[in-house]
């Protein structure tokens, strides 16, 4: 028996309730997501690998445990996908790139370990932009598995680098997915695909067993159907890990469910300088968000990001750390095997950035931290359109046509701030629109509370793409 789309599109919170009450079988749920994934993956390029055997083994174990009254928590028996830069013992971990197509690890990434402990069921490894974009890319096709296609319009891209994770959640190929972000790689696919994606505070989720792109910027986070789901998943994956040098202490890293900030007290900053230019349909949809929230929060006022060369700072740091992380690949010449023409040469250039410029970027980063921290004395969250545009077509030359300043993304990632993107409408071309909410380091509760409040007032996050 296969479950209907109505069930497969349910949020984790509701699936969990049904599993706990034994109204839903973990095995049938896993079989249903697997069948849907096997059927739709050729259309969407969302997965690199389906982990059918492991999924069924974990689902049977969950069924047995729940049946015996041993319920582990809200992710017990819930099927998910992990971006293919997370090590999973016994399966390939390709980093989305041909030079690593046969790579395997003999251990699980920390986030996979934690999800195993929570009783979640791994359905597969999600497709991604090669090396998470670490060598640069010009086209959506910069992936071992080809371009991930947007379930809302298969002629459009999902954004990257967590491209498969975005498509998987959007098309209900799993109940949630794990993505990673160095600069925009959770927020952008969540916006393009009309889902809820949370970038946690830097250091909250262990990166042990994850591909490194930029050691001082990489983060791991949930992509799901609602802010509430993101909170449930974060609670399972957050925590100190001595194997990750940047891991926060247990007190700072731990995230507990049910401690959301009180939304009536929220002070929301409406950013006026996040984007140089914004599609009017998107700007209008985001204005509607503020209208919807204004009766339910303490204040909504205009806010401005601090000025500074923060795009450049983030770019230099990522370039230098990426060139270091993939030095073997660059020096060996194996970058020539990458799918994207830009990726085959950009590493050579990035290797040449002087150390003094890297340190200078790190000096400006400190100033950026001071500047943005001051904003949060006035506001609990700051908000802006996730992107100034809706999803791009699959053949768009991203470098030529669509590189533009992203100060909120640069600052948010440079400073390790938590952020969430949630859907807030559609363009006239029926492509999703998102709003992003960002808070002070460690204050995921504020972004989750604001996003959850908005999702209680609206139903954009429950809309389904025209794919079945």
């Amino acid at each position: 028996m296969m479950l209907s789309d109505d069930v497969l599109y349910l949020p984790v919170s509701e699936l969990g309730r049904r599993l706990r009450a034994r109204k839903l079988s973990p095995v049938i749920l896993a079989e249903s997501y697997l069948a849907r994934s096997e059927r739709l993956n050729p259309q969407l390029n969302a997965y690199v690998t389906l982990t059918r055997d492991l999924a069924l083994e974990q689902a049977h174990a969950a069924e047995k445990e729940i049946g015996a009254g041993h319920y582990r928590g809200p992710l017990h028996g819930i099927p998910y996908a992990a971006k293919d830069l997370l090590a999973v013992k016994g399966y390939p971990t390709t980093w989305g790139a041909r030079p690593y197509a046969n790579q395997t690890f003999d251990y699980d990434a920390a986030v996979v370990e934690r999800l195993n402990r929570a009783g979640a069921v791994l359905i597969g490894k999600a497709a991604m932009i090669e090396l998470a974009g670490g060598m640069g890319y010009r086209f959506a096709s910069a992936s071992l598995t080809g371009p991930a296609k947007n379930p809302w319009n298969e002629g459009c891209w999902t954004c990257g680098s967590s491209s498969g994770s975005g498509a998987i959640v959007s098309a209900a190929l799993a109940a949630f997915a794990i993505g990673t972000e160095t600069w925009g790689s959770i927020i952008c696919p969540s916006g393009f695909c009309g889902i809820s994606g949370l970038r946690p505070t830097f250091g909250r989720v262990s990166r042990y067993g994850a591909m490194a792109l930029a050691y001082s910027l990489d983060k791991i986070g949930p992509m799901a159907r609602s802010a509430e789901d993101c909170g449930l998943i974060l609670a399972a994956i957050a925590g100190h890990d001595s194997r990750d040098r940047s891991s926060l202490s247990e007190g700072e890293a731990k995230f507990e469910i049910g401690l959301a900030a009180s939304s009536p007290r929220l002070r929301v900053g409406r950013l006026t300088n996040a984007w140089k230019k914004c599609d009017p349909e998107i700007a209008g949809a985001v204005d509607d968000v503020f209208d919807a929230l204004k009766k339910h929060v303490a204040a909504i006022e205009d806010a401005e990001l601090p000025a500074g060369p923060f795009d450049e700072v983030a770019g230099v740091i990522i370039s230098v750390e990426g060139a270091a992380a993939f030095r073997d690949l660059i020096e060996s010449g194996k970058v020539a095997e990458l799918a994207d023409p830009l990726g085959r040469v950009a590493g050579y250039v990035n290797e040449q950035i002087p150390a003094s410029d890297y340190i200078r970027a790190q000096q400006v980063r400190e100033i950026c931290q001071e500047g943005i921290n001051g904003i949060f004395d006035t506001f609990d969250v700051i908000a802006a359109p996730t992107l100034p545009l809706a999803a791009s077509t699959l053949d768009t030359n991203l470098e030529k046509n669509l590189s533009f300043p992203d100060p909120l993304g640069a600052i948010g990632n440079l400073c390790g701030l938590p952020g969430i993107s949630v859907p807030c409408g559609f363009t006239s071309q029926k492509l999703p629109i998102g709003i992003q909410l960002v808070a002070r380091c460690g204050n995921e509760r504020a972004v989750l509370a604001a996003a959850n409040l908005y999702q209680q007032l609206t139903d954009w996050h429950t809309r389904r793409p025209p794919i079945s």
């Binding site: 925009g184 250039v349 790190q362």
Partner: protein, 142 residues
């Protein structure tokens, strides 16, 4: 990019530094999330960039840095690159200079501390064993 920033970069104070230049060619190399647009909007943004005045030429010193960078790459890796890729290296080397100019123009002093902090290890416990990676290493792979 927004050439106005490049023109006045040497004069900009921390406060005055205007909002961002678009990350152009090397920007896409250094910004992993080049962003996409719907077709109808592409024209608008492309026009917006086109409305900006033409890019200021690099100074002789900056041009020399660009050439030194490209030469170093071609000297080390030239044999493995096609003519087209060599041209691309020269173009990216030029594009990289623009964000570096803006970064270097930002006023800092000797006491400006970088966000790189040594994390002291104070206990005597050995570091956890590093698990191994199996399979094909990139430089052995076909």
């Amino acid at each position: 990019m927004n050439p106005r920033i490049g023109e006045s970069a040497g004069l900009l104070s921390r406060r005055d530094f205007a909002l961002k230049a678009a990350l152009a060619a090397a920007g896409a190399a250094i910004a992993p999330t080049a962003l996409g647009a719907a077709p109808g909007l592409l024209t608008d943004l492309a026009n917006l960039e086109a409305q900006s005045p033409p890019s200021t030429p690099l100074s002789a010193e900056d041009q020399a840095q660009v050439e030194a960078r490209a030469s170093a790459i071609l000297r080390k890796y030239g044999e493995r690159l096609s003519l087209e890729q060599k041209d691309e290296i020269r173009r990216l080397s030029t594009e990289l200079q623009k964000p570096l100019i803006r970064l270097r123009a930002y006023p800092l002093d000797n006491s400006s501390q970088p966000a790189t902090v040594l994390k002291l290890v104070s206990d005597a416990k050995p570091a956890p064993a590093k698990p191994s990676r199996r399979g094909v290493k990139p430089h052995d792979a076909q």
